[in-house]
Amino acid sequence: MAMTKSTAGTLAHAAPLHGRPHELFNALRGIARELRADKLGAFGTMILLVLVIVAIAAPALAPYDPAAQSLADRLLPPAWLAGGSPAHWLGTDHLGRDVLSRTIHGARVSLLVGVAVVALAGTFGTVLGLVAGYFGGRADTIIMRAVDIQVAFPALLLALIILTVVKPTPGTLVIVLAANGWMVYARLVRGVVLSSRQSLYVEAAEIVGCRPLRVIFRHVLPNLTSPLVTLATLEFARIVLAEAALSFLGLGVQPPATSWGLDVAAGKNYIFDAWWLVTVPGTAIALTVLSINLVASWIRIATDPRERQKRFARGAAVSEMGA
């Protein structure tokens, strides 16, 4: 037994050393090919990359300090409209702050909160899902009961209460959103673990005597990658929307920090005479969420053979062909 195990270990370690650069190259080539096949996916990826760069380089890219007020220049329309100023491409808000600069900085908050929530909720949910699925028994019962109950919670309303009582900072925002989001990961992971536990190779690994953690990392997690990445991307889009909604309601990001949702809320009092104040940050949110969703749908299609069939609409025929 011990010998079998060590042999298997050596082999497993040896293979990736040779394979990795080659595999990586192949993987990249595969991604490039898939992106060419899915123009919308390519579009989404491009927009998202641009957004990430904008968020990282916001201080360098923004022409003004997003919080700098200038009451003399308040409510200037975008540059191409009558009365617009070339100094403020996308106009200014009711305090004379530059809309473009605020929108650029807003990308930081949106993406940062989104990434933090996905990381936190994803990790927590995945670990609990692994425990529930792999060890089963009482742990499974308790975790899944908690998931069931929390899924039935009126999530946003609870978040409202919590954020009313606790001061909304980016930190509390992330924790509240993550507390409402971990369940989907736990459910997904548990499901995949349960089905892959029944597969022969996991059984074999267990018979050979692999320790649970080893089985999880070598045999179960690889099956999880694709559905988890898809789910995390979709959740990312959902969180960006949720942060924007909470900030819009005044319970998310607080001034003087900037957030797209906050800017839309501030602009809504001026929709009669300054439509750009809600349109610009709103478009930014919509574009961000759309590009994330496009990427998610592309990942799902590219990694799930059943979805591929749907894209190419070759369902019935292919299965008929059998061999």
Binding site: A152, F153, A155, I161, T164, G261, V278, G282, G315
Partner: protein
């Protein structure tokens, strides 16, 4: 279905409502200080103590907890600090407006999404399908508060066709319902399309075609009935999310006098009693919807055993 199933689901529902109540209790009593939140900053220490005594906050926590639940059992949620009358009365007054908005919105979403998804599924990869998928993705990516404001700018401000806010005539309902419905339409159309494609590839569809039945019966009856479960599952979810989330945003944008709007008003006035009553009532609605969904599944798919 068995009475046992109903009892168990009811038990589960009670656990959920209790869970929500406990979370609300903990959050409002332990994490924050209700007195600080509710009273103005310039209140004197005597005022604070009197207020704390009025709410029973000067007693030990377990006693408060017991008291809290004893009152809940009698449907006594306390008095709204803002309106000085029982919070439950305010909530029940506002409930019909929210139900109207949410139900009309969801019906609209289903009416739009099912035909879109079904037609797309007939010829996947073709023009109509691509258009449906793209529009659905766009729809579900729109932030509702922004969509609502855009609709107001276009229909109310620019064209003056519909009122900007409030409730009263059917015209008042159109924009809020549409705002609530459009993102849900996107998600529902995607799932309708996806499950219809799955079903249309099932052998029983081939059987139905081979029987010489007309296409509209094969698609609209045989396949659609099987595809209905995932679609209705999501619709139930959307209903819950609308009630417990989206409605807050949409009602705020359109000043629609429902539960969501009153929740925001309660927050602005630091009226925690009213806010927790809203949450409690919504939690009960959510539990009721979940139970109703289980019964709907059973009605649609005879294979489902409710144990």
């Amino acid at each position: 279905m068995s009475a046992g199933f109903l009892l168990r689901r009811l038990g589960h529902g009670i656990v959920v409502v209790l869970g929500v109540t406990i979370v609300v209790f903990i959050v409002t009593r332990m994490v924050g200080d209700p007195v600080r939140v509710m009273l103005p900053i310039d209140a004197s220490d005597e005022q604070r103590q009197a207020f704390a005594h009025h709410l029973g906050l000067d007693r030990p926590l377990p006693a408060q907890f017991a008291d809290f639940f004893a009152k809940l059992a009698r449907f006594d949620f306390g008095e709204s600090l803002w309106q000085r009358r029982p919070a439950i009365d305010i909530v029940l007054e506002r409930l019909p407006a929210t139900l109207e908005l949410v139900l009309v919105g969801m019906a609209l979403a289903l009416l739009l999404a099912i035909p879109l998804g079904v037609i797309a599924a007939l010829r996947p990869g073709r023009g109509w399908d691509r258009a449906t998928v793209s529009l659905s993705l766009l729809g579900l990516s729109l932030p509702q508060f922004w969509l609502g404001l855009l609709l107001i700018i276009l229909f109310a401000v620019e064209w003056g066709l519909l009122p900007t806010s409030g409730r009263g005539t059917p015209g008042h309902l159109i924009l809020p319902a549409l705002t609530l419905a459009l993102p849900a339409t996107g998600r529902l159309a995607m799932i309708a399309r996806s499950s219809m494609i799955d079903e249309l590839n099932q052998p029983y569809v081939q059987t139905a075609i081979a029987k010489g039945l007309p296409l509209r019966r094969v698609v609209g009856l045989h396949a659609l009935r099987n595809a209905a479960n995932p679609v209705l599952t999501l619709a139930g979810w959307e209903l819950i999310r609308s009630l417990a989330g989206y409605a807050v945003v949409v009602e705020t944008v359109f000043a629609w006098p429902g539960l969501g709007y009153v929740a925001i008003q309660a927050i602005q006035r630091q009226d925690l009693v009213l806010l927790q009553t809203v949450v409690f009532v919504v939690a009960i609605m959510v539990v009721a919807i979940n139970l109703a969904m289980d019964l709907v599944y059973k009605a649609i798919d005879p294979r489902i055993q409710l144990e």
